[in-house]
């Protein structure tokens, strides 16, 4: 009488209901197992295994990795980026001539077209252009990666916080975003770079990060807001998940795709932006070697010595393409619907 309708299978601890589960399994299995019919893809279900404890437990990341390993475009991108990374780290492996800044240039070779000795010809200073391009990889790769990573981290963190918590913080971030968006990139870069006594790779990277985090933030913020409203996030909260867990486990994987796509495309834009700044005299200065500087120096020679602009452009394009392929493959691998 004291506990009306309290079910008998329920105890005060954990084990009893579990025992009830076991018992009911026997009764329920045959009639209900295939109640809705099997999902579409045949053959992937596998035979029912007797032992369940040793069954492979798939997760998004392990499935994504298996998917990536089978993706030819991903492998191509990885190989290309691997070569470019080695080129950036150890340019000496690719050319015997050494750093073009350390001599070896002869003005008599200025603007000479490609030949058997100099595959890429010579630039306006008479330096071997192949060596130029090889040595240019380092700056361009570092700038692209550092800036995209830096602006990505800022954008993701601020975007997640603004989207997830909303309120005054969201308003503050939104207005800050508007202000920085309103700043022309050249003007902004001049302001920032002039604040530094001397300008090198790091300073240029900082300036570009400071002016390029907004798009990632906006993309991520809006995906976070749309994912935040879904029932599966409500379900996670209803089971007591912490905000950190919800953000990492539920929101991040579902909101990341547009950011990933944007970031890999943005790498190309960033490398080009470095070139623009250098051209305007507020980025890297000429003794430095970068594809951006080389493309700029070739702009006036398009008619007379097109190879000067052609080869660094090709390398830049291949680099950007590799990043895009990588991002594309990653996005597909992280979307179970495309498997």
């Amino acid at each position: 009488m004291s506990e009306p309708r309290t079910p008998t299978t329920r105890g005060t601890g954990g084990p009893e209901p579990s025992a009830a589960l076991d018992r009911d399994l026997l009764a329920a299995t045959p009639s209900t197992t295939s109640a809705d019919g099997a999902p579409v893809p045949p053959g992937s279900g596998g035979a029912p295994s007797a032992q369940s404890d040793d069954t492979r437990q798939a997760s998004l990341w392990s499935d994504a990795w298996r998917q990536l390993r089978r993706n030819k475009l991903f492998l191509i991108a990885v190989v290309l980026l691997g070569v470019l990374t080695v080129m950036a780290a150890f340019p000496g492996l690719f050319t015997s001539l050494g750093d073009p800044r350390e001599g070896g240039c002869s003005l008599s070779n200025s603007k000479m077209p490609p030949s058997a000795q100099a595959w890429f010809g010579y630039d306006i200073q008479g330096c071997d252009h192949y060596t130029n391009v090889i040595y240019g990889a380092r700056v361009s790769m570092i700038i692209g990666l550092v800036v995209v990573a830096g602006s990505g981290v800022i954008g993701l963190v601020l975007g997640a916080l603004a989207g997830f918590y909303g309120g005054w913080f969201d308003i503050l971030v939104a207005r800050l975003t508007d202000i920085v968006y309103g700043l022309p990139i050249v003007l902004g870069a001049i302001l920032i770079l002039n604040a530094f006594p001397n300008r090198g790779l790091l300073q240029v990277a900082v300036a570009l990060i400071a002016l390029s985090w907004m798009t990632v933030l906006r993309l991520f913020r809006s995906s976070v807001i749309s994912v935040k409203e879904t029932d599966y996030v409500a379900a996670a909260r209803a089971m007591g998940a912490t905000n950190l867990r919800i953000i990492l486990k539920h929101i991040l994987p579902n909101a990341l795709a547009p950011v990933l796509v944007y970031s890999t495309i943005a790498i190309g834009g960033i490398i080009a932006a470095e070139a623009t700044l250098s051209f305007l005299g507020i980025g890297l200065q000429l003794p430095a070697v970068s594809w951006g500087l080389q493309i700029n120096s070739g702009r006036n020679l398009l008619r007379t010595a097109p190879h000067v602009i052609f080869f660094p452009s090709i390398f830049l394009s291949v680099t950007v393409l590799s990043w895009i392929l990588l991002g594309d493959a990653l996005r597909d691998a992280l979307d179970p619907k495309l498997r």
């Binding site: 295939s34 109640a35 809705d36 019919g37 579409v40």
Partner: protein, 341 residues
């Protein structure tokens, strides 16, 4: 598929000659994942003043057939691969685009489920209703507005005169559906197709809308095709019913006769599986499994994997829609046994 050999008509309309005859219609969708057979040879007729319900679950092809009649099938990926749709004896599918336009809208019109996305948010409802008269009847702006107010009165939108200048978002779901109905009946069509007109609405509003449709039909004598998944709604308003499953009509007949004693196990299963407000504590007997994937239909009778009566004949031989008793057709090898005759 063998259904082109015979395509019996769902005939027996109460007032004789048919307004609309759908004859062995086939529609498929060519997608990246293969060909989806959405409609696999359906035939039915509709007479003036008659209400025909097309009942089926999601993906059974009931809406696709309506879109084909209205000429609003997304093509590609959708293609009509066979059959005729005759309006007053003339095949709509063979007409020129202009002739089709003249019939659709003027003679046949449609009301969709989602009134909000069917209305343009940046124009007033008065303009959108009046547009029908301006485009098809060449009314002046003032006359069109007057006609719009009259129509809004007719679909019982309160204080129509004041609300004619309001925008769609200022109306409730039920009122927006009334606006859609007003637009659909503006040109006095002979046939109104209502595609799940009340699915998005609350039950009291659903009753109002169904009531309105019935009243309009009585006033105008138009033929009404009601497409729905709700058995009880069908029971309340339809004269005849065509039950669809996997792109085919599997049973037809007068509504009360079909619901009184179904001749197809699928219809029987549907009736046993729904909870009813007039029964308490009854056991629900669900149909096992889920509706089939239209890109990979089962062989033979598409219902056989879920059918309690399936025999070895069912997966091998497609049952055609055939007359079981006068006025009743069913696509089941064992329809007589199911019906108990």
């Amino acid at each position: 598929m063998t259904s082109s050999l015979t395509h019996p008509q769902v005939s027996g309309g109460p007032t004789g000659s048919a307004l609309l005859e759908v004859d062995d219609l086939h529609v498929e969708f060519r997608t990246d994942y293969g060909v989806v057979n959405a409609v696999n040879g359906i035939s039915y007729t509709l007479s003036a003043g008659e209400t025909l319900a097309i009942l089926g679950e999601s993906g059974c092809g009931k809406s696709v057939s309506a879109q084909t009649i209205m000429g609003i099938l997304d093509s590609p990926p959708g293609f009509v691969t066979g059959g005729e749709i005759r309006y007053q004896g003339r095949d709509l599918l063979q007409m020129s685009a202009k002739e089709q336009r003249d019939i659709r809208g003027e003679e046949i019109s449609i009301v969709f489920q989602d009134a909000l996305s069917s209305l343009n948010p940046v124009f007033t409802v008065g303009m959108q209703i009046g547009e029908m008269f301006r485009r098809h009847r060449g009314y002046s702006r003032g006359d069109a507005k007057k006609a719009a107010v009259e129509l809004m009165d007719r679909v019982r939108i309160p204080s129509a005169k004041e609300r004619v200048g309001d925008y769609p978002h200022q109306f409730s779901g039920g009122m927006r559906q009334r606006v859609m109905i007003a637009m659909a009946i503006a040109l006095d069509p002979a046939i109104l197709i209502a595609d799940e007109p009340t699915t998005a609405l609350d039950v009291t509003v659903q009753a109002q809308i169904m009531d309105l449709l019935g009243e309009l039909q009585r006033d105008t004598g138009m033929g009404l095709i009601l497409i729905t998944h709700d058995l009880a709604v069908v029971g309340e308003i339809a004269d005849r019913i065509a039950v669809m499953y996997a792109g085919r009509i599997v049973e037809t007949g007068a509504t009360d006769a079909v619901f009184g004693a179904p001749a197809m196990p699928y219809t029987q299963g549907l009736m046993a599986s729904i909870a009813r407000v007039d029964q308490k504590g009854q056991r629900l007997n669900p149909i096992v499994g889920a509706p089939p994937n239209l890109a990979a239909l089962p062989t033979g009778c598409p219902f056989h994997p879920r059918c309690p009566r399936a025999t070895p004949r069912c997966p091998t031989e497609l049952p055609l829609l055939r007359e079981v008793v006068p006025g009743r057709r069913a696509a089941c090898h064992y329809a007589e046994e199911v019906l108990g005759v």
